[in-house]
Symmetry: C3
Subunit: 208 residues, 3 copies
């Protein structure tokens, strides 16, 4: 039950972020809905392609896309309010990211993936939607840039799940992984943590 709530929460927040980017880019209502849906369910669809789940769950069953569409509609109608609530949205996004990373790892293990694959696929589930969003909006993926920690918490969550699943019950891995990933993400935002870039003098100017 909690799992369903977290799943829909994650999809809704991710979809809203896609909708906001689409609005800023001047997309039409279809473009807003499409970018919202692809951001919301994209990570899970990539996960399912890696795991040979066919058709991907979010495509075969209507609830995920419907939640993403509803979130997109709400975000579009309340766009100004949405922008002002940035802090709350980022916190909800952190919870969704943490849950997607660990649940993605869990689904991978259930489909016979190795522990190594579970970590990679969990991380992909969490960050895939955001990467698809930025590629389609013709932006350099935020996740790869120097702004803040996003993929590292996702990797932590997926790794935590894989380690706990090796010796303990699945639900403990899901809870601990989700909580740790969320906390690291929120702490990173709060304290402005970020990773260094490569040698600064090799960065091309006016090119990003």
């Amino acid at each position: 039950m909690l799992q369903l709530v977290l799943n829909y929460l994650g999809i809704a927040v991710f979809a809203s972020s896609g909708a906001m980017v689409a609005i800023r880019k001047g997309f039409d209502l279809f473009g807003i809905a499409a970018l919202g849906v692809m951001t919301g369910v994209g990570g899970g669809v990539v996960r399912d392609i890696f795991l040979n789940v066919s058709p991907p769950t979010s495509i075969q069953h209507w609830p995920n896309v419907t939640v993403a569409l509803a979130a997109t509609a709400v975000a579009t109608l309340t766009a100004r309010l949405f922008i002002r609530m940035r802090r709350i949205v980022l916190s909800l996004d952190a919870v969704g990211m943490g849950f997607f990373a660990t649940s993605g790892a869990a689904i991978a293990v259930d489909h016979g993936a190795s522990w190594f694959a579970a970590v990679l696929i969990g991380m992909t589930t969490a960050i895939g939607g955001g990467i698809i969003r930025d590629v389609l909006a013709r932006e350099v993926p935020l996740l790869l840039g120097p702004d803040d920690l996003y993929a590292v918490p996702a990797m932590l969550g997926a790794t935590t799940y894989a380690v706990i699943d090796y010796s303990g019950p699945q639900w403990v891995g899901l809870v601990v992984g989700t909580v740790l990933a969320t906390l690291l993400r929120v702490a990173g935002l709060r304290f402005g943590w970020h990773l260094p870039t490569g040698p600064a003098d090799l960065i091309a100017r006016g090119d990003a």
Copy 2:
């Protein structure tokens, strides 16, 4: 038989549109051929990945890629003429889009996809090639922008197929879905229909 003709027509028109974008971007002959082929068969390849058809039909069997290559060659050799015949090309493209949307939905149903999935996969078959084209050419996907109706007719065609397939014979769904999608697309072009964007003041300037 008519299905084969429509399939090759759709691939040829889509491939030509990819070739024209590649020429405008200054790609070399390989780049023109590659973008043409990926635009022509890309939607079907994505459909096959969703449906676990392996290797994807257009990759396993030579006719689709060959038709795309031939269309690319013709479009490149007659580029100026091609640009002047814009209206005819757009009409043929509308027929191809309509057929891809409905036949994509039909293939999805044949592979055990739900009705919901058939609609999404049909739409993806019709618009996937164009999205791949624009991402590779580093343009914001035309389909998501405010210009004209493209994905909405595709969704109408796929939905029409799914509804008719529920109660009637497959070929009726294919014909009616293709015709409706094509008509809506042509009418949208003719009368300049388009969907609204989000709040105009939230659109970032000089950013698209």
Copy 3:
């Protein structure tokens, strides 16, 4: 044994090229590692998705990603040296490309792909990582532009493999295909061979 060496060599050189682009774009250490890994193993992952290998080999087994990560770390630490050794890097890259094209074709045949599919999938294995790199870094894929021959040698290698495999032993196809693709690529670089673009007056200025 030689096959393993060539595989890791190819992944390492491809990953380094991804890391160098990421450094130039100002990505953070995660972004550098991620772009390196995706460039190094991306072609093989796309190949496995086409062939329904699930999860893709590079995701399921740790060595490929580990080699890519190590190469990314070395490239980042020696970035200035790396740039100065451009000629050596390009030669190693040519070998990796040649091997990926032919081994990709061989793996495709082993999984029941047609000869036609083997050529396309071999070429995709060789060029997929570079295309993913450029799309994520928001650059027009180098491979499609007019700079030098890259995909054509890959196609030659994959085709050579497919032709030889039809009548002779697999290892002969692998060796001859890899050598021919590498030689054509190196000769193209050495003598500045490149393919023509489309009609020059149709190329949009300041748009690439």
